[in-house]
Symmetry: C2
Subunit: 127 residues, 2 copies
DNA sequence: CGTCTATATTGACAAACATCGATCCAGAAG
DNA sequence: CTTCTGGATCGATGTTTGTCAATATAGACG
């Protein structure tokens, strides 16, 4: 019960692989475990919508009191999903007075986007 | 037991939203359900490595007989993971003789990459 | 036909997960 | 201090998931 949001496994130097991209070199075991944790956090409709609602603020912060009533789910459930997104390193929380505000950590989504991106099919550079 | 791989929910016209991107407009419920199914398929280290091993072939096909021995898992387990990737629309299978070959469907990963991509932070276009 | 080999499917089981109600904690405001 | 409110945590519960051994299917080869 010490630091559950102090972890930043996202930018970690997970592997000295040459490419954090699916289609260049096969993913190593460690890197795949780390990436799978991120993708799993996105593998729920509620969390995807939460992340989207927060990301729409473009760097700004969103109060939890604004997120919770947007779903047909109990307040503990939303809090649980926010915690998973936080533990995955996709969002960060900041308390201000009575309210808690969340913001997106773009490094995480950037990394996933880079993993999924194709490395250019540009000209006929075929072998 | 009719068509379990004939489905291509990936390119579906899931929603008439303006943007299939996280940070422009919040995701709708339907679209988030559909995207979450794709991300969930990537939310497992074994499946990520499988996809990566197939994608490394750059459009080519990979025999299952080449994938299975790369893991410390039973053959049915690998077959199960390949099935999930297939049902998610991320890969497709083709039987040739006794062997089955898998290839990546780039439209799926492209779509996920587009969802995660940031729409350019270019110059100081701040309000 | 029967046999062998490569995948897929089935059934079972433990672990992980999503959800809820109840409760707790942290600040604000009396 | 006490009370109120926003949010997190706890405990329980039903569902999903990852894994395996056993079995089934599909094609090749006698």
């Amino acid at each position: 019960m010490s630091n559950q949001e102090g972890r930043a496994p996202v930018l970690g130097d997970a592997s000295a692989d040459d490419c954090s991209c699916l289609s260049i070199a096969p993913l190593g075991e460690d890197e795949s475990v780390e990436l799978a944790r991120l993708f799993k956090a996105l593998g729920d409709p509620v969390r995807l919508r939460l992340l989207s609602m927060i990301a729409t603020r473009g760097g700004g912060e969103v109060c939890v009191c604004e997120l919770t009533p947007a779903f047909d789910l109990s307040q503990p459930t939303i809090s649980h999903h926010l915690k998973l997104l936080r533990e995955a390193g996709l969002i960060a929380a900041a308390r201000r007075g009575t309210w808690v505000y969340y913001r997106v950590l773009p490094e995480a989504t950037d990394r996933l986007a880079a993993v999924l991106a194709r490395p250019e099919v540009s000209e006929g550079g075929r072998k």
